[in-house]
C-alpha cells in the first residue's frame, strides 16, 4: 500500500478515539521537528496533545558552558562546533556573536572533522565544542580516542553530553503531569537498545513506543499509543523501529563510549542539576578536557535557572502557551534556546505551525 494512503488510514483511525484527552510526549527534538515538517501535526484530532520533551541537547546545555566557549575564544584558538550550537546564547553572547570579531570558528559536520583541523594546524590549539545525547556520544568518544592515539595534544573537547533516562525519571515522577504516552527517541535507542526505555511502561505504567522519524513511523507510533491508552490494560511498550533498533542496541558503540566517559551529575538549562545524567571525560582522557586546559571553571559564570523554556521542555506548556512566543520571542530575536535551536520545540512550532490555519 502507498505510504500516503496508509498514513491517511492511520490518522482516520486515531480520530476514532473517544478518549477525552491524550497527552503524548515527543521526547526527542528531532521528533518534534519531524512531526511539524511532515505536516502530521496539522492532521491530529484536538483531543491528542503532543507535548514537547527535553530531548534537545542544545536547549538543555547550561548557559555557563556556552559562556565558557566564549571565554575560551578570547585565547587565539580555533573553535570547531556543530551548526546546532552556533546561535544559542549563554548569559550574554553566542558563538555566532564572536564571528564579527573575526574569531576562528569552524562549523563541522562530524566530530572526526576536528581531528583533521588539529592535524592541519599543529601549532594552533583547537577546541571542539558540542552538545549531544547517547546518539552522538559514541562518535565524540571515538574522536577523543583517536586524538589520544595520534597524540593530537593541540586538540581539546568542551562537551555537554547528557543521558535520557535520568531526565525522563525526573519528569515522570511528577504524576500530576498526566502524560499518557511517550514517543521514545529512535536513534538513542539504536545505540542504547530498545530496552533502555522499557522502564517508562514498567516503572511508571505509561505506554511507550520507540519510533523512527519518517512520517509513517511517527503516525504508527501515535496510533499504537492511542490504541493502547484507550484499551486501559497494562501499560504497553513496543519497539516500532526494529529495522534500526535491537533490544540490546549497539554494544560496540557503547563500549567505546564508556572507555572514554564517566557518568556524572549534570546541569540542565532551565531544570537544574540531575544526578548521574551527564557524560564527562574520565581520568584516562582528562588531558583533552578544554575546561582544564584553559583553566576555566564554568561555575564562575552565573547559572540561570529561570529560563522560560523549561516549562516547554518539561511538557508543562505548549510552545504557543508561552507568553513570549511569537511576540517577544521569535527566531530572529529569540529569548531562549528552545527558539534558537533548530530542533527546539518553540522553533519547530514557529517555523512549521499551522495555527494560522485555525
Amino acid at each position: 500500500m502507498n505510504k500516503a494512503i496508509l498514513i491517511k488510514k492511520i490518522i482516520n483511525e486515531i480520530h476514532q478515539s473517544s478518549i477525552e484527552k491524550l497527552n503524548i510526549m515527543e521526547v526527542c527534538g528531532t521528533h518534534t521537528q519531524a512531526v511539524s515538517r511532515s505536516g502530521i501535526r496539522s492532521l491530529l484530532p484536538p483531543n491528542l496533545v503532543l507535548l514537547s520533551g527535553p530531548g534537545c541537547p542544545v536547549c538543555v546545555t547550561d548557559k555557563s558552558l556556552i559562556d565558557a566557549a566564549v571565554e575560551i575564544l578570547k585565547n587565539d584558538i580555533i573553535l570547531a562546533t556543530f551548526g546546532d550550537m552556533v546561535r544559542v546564547r549563554g548569559t550574554l553572547e553566542s558563538i555566532s556573536d564572536q564571528l564579527h570579531k573575526r574569531k576562528n570558528i569552524f562549523v563541522i559536520y562530524s566530530p572526526l572533522d576536528c581531528l583533521e583541523l588539529a592535524k592541519d594546524k599543529p601549532e594552533r590549539q583547537v577546541v571542539f565544542f558540542t552538545a549531544g545525547f547517547e546518539t552522538t556520544a559514541p562518535g565524540i568518544a571515538l574522536a577523543v580516542k583517536l586524538a589520544h592515539k595520534e597524540n593530537l595534544h593541540n586538540l581539546s573537547f568542551l562537551t555537554s553530553l547528557k543521558l535520557m533516562p535520568p531526565v525522563l525519571h525526573s519528569i515522570l515522577r511528577e504524576k500530576q503531569k498526566k502524560i499518557h504516552g511517550l514517543i521514545c527517541p529512535g536513534h538513542v535507542a539504536a545505540v542504547m537498545g530498545a530496552g533502555y526505555f522499557r522502564f517508562v511502561a514498567g516503572e511508571y505504567g505509561i505506554n511507550a513506543a520507540v519510533c523512527g522519524f519518517e512520517p509513517l513511523d511517527i503516525a504508527s507510533g501515535l496510533l499504537f499509543l492511542t490504541k493502547k491508552i484507550s484499551s486501559s490494560s497494562e501499560a504497553a511498550f513496543a519497539n516500532l523501529y526494529e529495522s534500526c533498533v535491537r533490544e540490546e542496541g549497539n554494544e560496540t558503540a557503547r563500549k567505546i563510549m564508556m572507555q572514554v566517559f564517566d557518568i556524572a551529575d549534570g546541569n540542565w538549562r532551565g531544570i537544574g542539576e540531575i544526578k548521574e545524567s551527564a557524560l564527562v571525560l574520565n581520568q584516562n582522557y582528562c588531558c583533552f578536557d578544554a575546561l582544564k586546559k584553559f583553566n576555566i571553571r564554568p561555575d564562575k559564570f552565573a547559572s540561570d535557572q529561570h529560563c522560560n523554556c523549561s516549562d516547554v521542555i518539561l511538557g508543562n506548556i505548549m510552545p504557543y502557551e508561552c507568553r513570549l512566543f511569537g511576540k517577544a520571542c521569535t527566531p530572529q530575536k529569540p529569548a531562549g534556546p528552545c527558539m534558537i535551536s533548530s530542533e527546539g520545540s518553540c522553533s519547530a512550532y514557529y517555523r512549521y505551525w499551522e495555527a494560522s490555519f485555525k
Binding site: 483511525e13 556543530f82 566530530p111 545525547f133
Partner: protein, 76 residues
Amino acid sequence: MCLAVPGIIVSIDRAWAQVDVIGVLNTVNIQLIDEPAVGDCVLIHAGCAIQKISSDNFSFLSSILSEFLIGAEKNE
C-alpha cells in the same frame, strides 16, 4: 536530537567506507559498528555509522499496523 540517514556500504578502506545515500556517495567512519561489510545498510549520524539496518521499516510496520487497522475500513 539525532538526525540520521540510511545508506548502503559500497566500499571499505580500513576505518572508512563509501556509503551510498540515495545516490550520493558519502565518506563515513565505520569504527562504531561490528564487522561492517560491503552491501550492509547502515544508519549514519554525524559522519559515523551507528547501527546496521536490518530491513525496511515499512514492511515491519505494515504487519504491526494491520492489527490496528482491521476495523479501519468500517470507519471510512
